[in-house]
Symmetry: C2
Subunit: 177 residues, 2 copies
């Protein structure tokens, strides 16, 4: 097995926020870790002006994928103890925030598209999170209900509310309340 070194020629990839996600979750501790644990929690997405026209036809979808910058995640770690387990797992076998490229991904329910604003529910995202992309949830592409799920299938914990274990970002202060 040849270990391929990082290719500096690939270079950095630069993205820009296309909007902001507004939610009742002000600090990581107490925030649901996935939409499945956030049922009924409402929020909204403000989409910046240049991108509002691209929201056409979205209202027909019951769910949408939000891709966003986990802007308060701490520096990345190779191993973490995920919220639903008691032992360390490889980071890529988890959905935990301290990722090399901290991109979050949530399939939230879409209630309405009102101009530049999406009203959403089942929201597991911190307030003020920068939005990177919106994609329609298409069951034909995205739903694999029977897929085997490794350690998750063995875990008995379904305590899907975060404590503060992934808090503490060098770049951004946590709310003080």
């Amino acid at each position: 097995m040849a270990v391929i070194p990082a290719r500096p020629s690939l270079g950095a990839i630069v993205f820009e926020p296309i909007g902001i996600i507004h939610t009742p979750h002000r600090a990581q501790a107490g925030t649901p870790i996935q939409p499945a644990f956030a049922q009924g929690v409402g929020g909204s997405v403000s989409v910046f002006a240049p991108y509002v026209g691209a929201l056409a036809d979205l209202a027909g979808f019951e769910r949408i994928w939000l891709l966003y910058h986990l802007d308060r995640a701490p520096a990345w770690k190779s191993k973490v103890v995920p919220y639903l387990d008691t032992v360390e797992r490889g980071l890529f076998a988890t959905r935990s925030p301290p990722r090399p490229n901290p991109i979050g991904m949530s399939a939230v329910r879409l209630l309405a598209v009102e101009g530049d604003e999406l009203r959403i529910v089942d929201v597991d995202i911190l307030d003020g999170t920068p939005l990177l992309d919106i994609k329609p949830y298409v069951p034909h592409f995205d739903a694999h209900p029977g897929a085997r799920a490794g350690w998750f299938d063995e875990s008995t914990s379904r305590a899907g509310i975060a404590d503060g274990r992934f808090s503490g970002d060098p770049r951004r202060r946590e709310p003080t309340e």
Copy 2:
């Protein structure tokens, strides 16, 4: 409705590739548009050395999400005619490549983890694509088989192989074959 202007203070978000995706798809024309249309198509992921330890525990998952940079997508467009439809749709109501932040997302089947290499199948990704993140596919989080899917539910086309409509990137030459 107040249109919120882009907040320059949010700034750019910089990511770095964590690996490279190898596939038989050399040009967009002829490439399946989703894993659902790429059943049995094999490929591999080479993960760069610093990230190999984070692959622990991944092998137990039948499917994984690959998030990647659509590095050959053309400049973003507000409206596109998606492959499975005949009329223009808002970009965010499609999975088409010309997105403001060109992040692709595929739930591929994972066959094996061998050192720094993942062997995968159901691959709809162009050869040489820079990898941004790997997440486990967890049906409890990701599978919503009954979700209403807007124009997609009305579309009768299931011709899930790309033509060249989203080719032609200013930054990168298409293979000449």
